[in-house]
Each structure stands twice: as C-alpha cells, then as structure tokens.
Amino acid sequence: MSERPDAVSPQPDGDAELAFLLRRAGIALTAEQFAAVAQEWQGFRGHVELVNREFTAEDEPAIVFDVLR
C-alpha cells in the first residue's frame, strides 16, 4: 500500500476525543460528570503513555492461557 501524501495525522482534541470514546462505549454523562472525568483523564493519560513502551515481539504479556492445563 502506498502512503497517501495528503493523509493528515489526527490531532488530539482532548474533550472531543474523550466524548468520542465514551460515546463508543455507550456511556452517556451529564456535562458535570463529563467535566469531572475529563479532569481525571488528564493524569490518567500519563499512565497509559508509560505502559506503551518499546517492546519486541518476544515480550509476552503476563497472561497465560491456562484453561487446558
């Protein structure tokens, strides 16, 4: 597949992004609830960035499919 020269990386727009994610999850909040979640999300995003590190394909998650053992 060739790269599209006119492709634009989406710019993060905090509130719009959060609204989209909540809508996708089927969660409807009041304006006040949304504002509180948005504030909480500010700190939480840092945690998500930290876990999305450089991994190799050999780095397996700490989940074992053990139901057949």
Partner: protein, 468 residues
C-alpha cells in the same frame, strides 16, 4: 476482655475457661456501640448471629472440640465478601438489594475455623471510589483522630481493628487497600502472595490484581488469621496450589543474618515524604540491623512504571466488570467512583496488553532483586493520614503500595510509631512469592522493638522529631 488480649492469649483463655466466646463478643459489641456512631466502621452489624455463633463455640470448646487458633474469636469483614443470606453492598447503591447465596471462600474457612463474624465493614465504593459522602453509608473514620480518613479501601477493616473492636478483619488489596489503611490506622496489614487466599465470593475490582488478606492488631494475629484464611481453592482460577505453613510457628526465629534490601529510589526523593516518615523508615532499618540483619540499598525499576502498569491493568479490568452498569445507570455510582471507572472507556486492547507485557518485566526485576536479599523494606506511608476536610484527592495520597499488587509478591505494613500529630506511621516489608513465613518473621522482629503496642494504644509509641 481487655482489648490487649491477642488472638493467641484469648484462645488460651477460652480453652482454660478463663473467658468465653460470648464474653468476647459482648465486649466487642459494647465497644462498637460506644465508638462506632463516630467511627462508622460497620455498615451491617450481625449482633444476634454473632452471639448465637459464640454460644456454639463455647459449647464446642467446653466439649473439647478445637477448631484451631480462631475458634471463638470475633472478627468483622469488608463488605465486598459474600456472607450467605446477607447483602454484599460494596458500599454502593447498585448493590443494596443484593443477597449472597453462599459464603465467600474466606468466610467458609473462618466459619469452619470457628471464628465469630460480627458484621460487615465499610469500604470505598466497589473497593475504589472513596472516601465519599455521596454513598449509601458514611465513610469510616480514623480511630486515632476521627477528623482524618483511615485510608482505603479496607477502611472499615482498619478502623475496626484500630478501635479495638476485633483483633483481625479481612480486607482486600488491589492497589494498596490493605497496607494503606493499616499504615494510617496503626495496625498490621498483610497482602499475601497473589493466589495465596481464595478470591471466590469477593466482588472483584480487578481480577489479576485482587488479593485477600487480614488487617490485624499484631503480626502474630495476622499470622494466625492467614493460617486459617489461606489455602488452595479449585473454584478460584487464580488460587495457588501451595502448602500453607503454620506461619505463627516461626515468628520468633529472629532476623540474624537476614539480608534486607532497600529500594531507596522508591521513596527517598519523593516530594511527599515527610521528615517523620523518613525517620520511621530509618528507625526500622536500624532496628533490623540491631537484630542481626544486614541492610543494603538495591535497585528496582522506576516506581512510576509500577504505578502506571497497575492503574492501566486495574482500569481495564474494572471497566469490563462495570461496563453494563456504566452504560445503563452511571448516575447511580458515587461521583468519585464514576470519574475513575469511566476512564476504562479510553483504553484499547493494546494498552492493556502492553501493561501486561510491562508487568512481566517488572515482576522479573523484583524476582532478580530477591536473588540477593530475603526481604525488602520500603515506604508505605509517606506521611500521616489526611483530614476529611479539605476533601483528600486519592490520586495524591502519600502512599506507596501498588507495586507489589502488580508483581504479586507478599507485602506487609507494620506500624512503627506515631508522628507529632498523633497519627500512625508505618513501613512496608516485602518478601519473595510464597515466603510469607519469612515476611512475618521480619515483621515480628520489627514490631517487638518499635511500634504502637500490641492492643494498647497509644502506649510504647515512638514519637518522631524529624523536621517536616
């Protein structure tokens, strides 16, 4: 019963006839009646059922039937554990109509062991959202100063033990919810190895992080409680099939020659570390050296990685559990709970899996550190418990605990003394997986020399004069 009687001492008194289980229960109920209107540790008191169980215990003990170290001993339990026929409210409006069909595994074991259940204890909503005043029950308060929070989410468990109602109270720990409140309430809080105690019948917060364990008035009390609570449960998919030693049997073996590691980077430069909390850690290390241990600094990965890993794992797992209710009735949750639970919608599958990949690396790093040391000593409370007013922000709590929920290693909070404001301080000890016997032995060596006093508060307090 004097609140100074340990479980072992009460057990002896029961077997010689010096006291009766019913007397222990009535003494506990009197304490609860006197203090709990202020402390709010209980959300459901089962006084009549407790008395009935105590009468049975007294008959059994008199007839020579001995169910073990907890026979006839009163306890209370965090209201996320099922008790047959009772509501497991999880301190939430969503669960007020719930009724448990059967006992949780821990309650089954404690019932079989003859322990006497007095009732259900306060928690944060679903073991996460709190302390909060918009829930069906008020938050528990710190018995050392009821204007201060006890910590959580095993808030009622810590308060009930610290107030002297009971000698032990099972709690749960997903990111520090046993050790945190134990530290702030001046009691012992033991998070065993992941899988050591069955989670069956405990409402989950995050399956891969949830640990069940006791809060207790002393290390010995915690050891005896764990002996009964622990054990393989084939109905809990995470239950470890490991033998359960008599943890109390080796408590006084001492720490001579024990290698102790200190991951100093976890806490030494932390901006929230108070002078008194720092002095408490150094005192604990000095005590262990004096008892014959060798102490050295060790390196572990950045604590922020453990914190981030734990938060992402927890948020993804709790979101899966609560997704339906978050869609259908978000406003029924407390505001603090909703703020934190809704964040699960922002996570992708790759976020969760990458957190699990990081988790494997972090666990390996801690295991590697344990190749050179037998115990780690680190911070748990960077400062004393905050006040209810202004409302404390859980994200900013001065506690360090979730690293060992991420890795699953056993960890214990041991009181070390009181700060100048009269509130407890503690340290955290950590051991290799399934080495609770070593962990408890080291904790006992520490407790024997410093602390707040076995069942007697605030005697034998070591007040710190470190500058803030």
């Amino acid at each position: 019963m004097s609140e100074a009687l340990s479980i072992a001492e009460a057990g002896k008194a029961l077997r010689t006839g010096a006291t009766r289980s019913l007397a222990l229960v009535e003494a506990a109920l009197a304490q609860i009646e006197a203090r709990d209107p202020d402390l709010c540790a209980f959300v459901g008191l089962h006084a009549d059922a407790g008395r009935a169980a105590a009468r049975v215990a007294d008959r059994e003990i008199a007839a020579g039937r001995d169910r073990g170290p907890l026979h006839g001993i009163p306890y209370a339990i965090k209201d996320i554990y099922d008790v047959a026929g009772e509501a497991t409210t999880c301190h939430s409006r969503l669960r007020l109509d719930h009724r448990a069909e059967r006992d949780s595994a821990v309650v089954e074991r404690l019932r079989e062991g003859g322990a006497i259940l007095l009732g259900k204890l306060a928690t944060h909503e679903f073991a996460f959202g709190g302390p909060s005043h918009d829930l069906p029950f008020p938050p528990a308060r710190n018995p050392w100063n009821s204007a201060h929070i006890p910590g959580g989410s095993s808030s009622g468990s810590a308060a009930a033990v610290a107030a002297g109602y009971v000698r032990f109270a099972p709690g749960s720990c997903t990111g520090g919810s046993i050790r945190g409140p134990a530290a702030w309430c001046g009691v012992v809080g033991l998070k065993p190895t992941y899988g050591r105690v069955s989670r069956r019948g405990v409402f989950p917060l995050a399956w891969s992080l949830d640990h069940c364990g006791p809060l207790a008035a002393s290390v010995e009390d915690a050891a005896l409680a764990l002996e009964v609570m622990a054990g393989h449960d084939p109905l809990d998919p995470a239950s470890a099939d490991q033998p359960v030693p008599r943890f109390s049997a080796t408590l006084d073996d001492g720490v001579a020659g024990m290698a102790v590691g200190v991951p100093r980077a976890f806490f030494a430069e932390h901006p929230s570390l108070s002078g008194e909390a720092a002095a408490a850690i150094e005192l604990a290390l000095e005590v262990l050296r004096g008892a014959g241990a060798t102490v050295r600094d060790i390196e572990l990965p950045d604590l922020k990685l453990f914190g981030a890993c734990g938060r992402v794992l927890m948020t993804a797992e709790l979101f899966a559990i609560h997704q339906k209710d978050l869609r259908e009735r978000p406003g029924t949750y407390g505001a603090l709970t909703l703020n934190r639970f809704a964040l699960g919608a922002t996570l992708s599958a790759a976020d969760y899996l990458n957190a699990q990949r990081l988790r494997r690396k972090l666990k390996a790093a801690v295991d590697e550190a344990f190749a050179a040391v037998e115990i780690m000593v680190t911070a748990i409370s960077l400062d004393t418990a905050p006040a209810f007013d202004p409302p404390p922000n859980p994200a900013a709590w001065a506690l360090q605990a979730n690293a060992f929920n991420v890795t699953g290693h056993p960890a214990i909070s041991v009181p070390v003394g009181l700060a100048a404001n009269g509130l407890p301080l503690a340290v955290q000890l950590v051991a290799p997986a399934f080495a609770e016997a070593t962990l408890l032995r080291a904790a006992r060596a520490l407790e024997a020399r410093v602390g707040i006093g076995d069942g007697q508060r605030p005697l034998r307090a070591a007040a710190f004069s470190g500058a803030q």
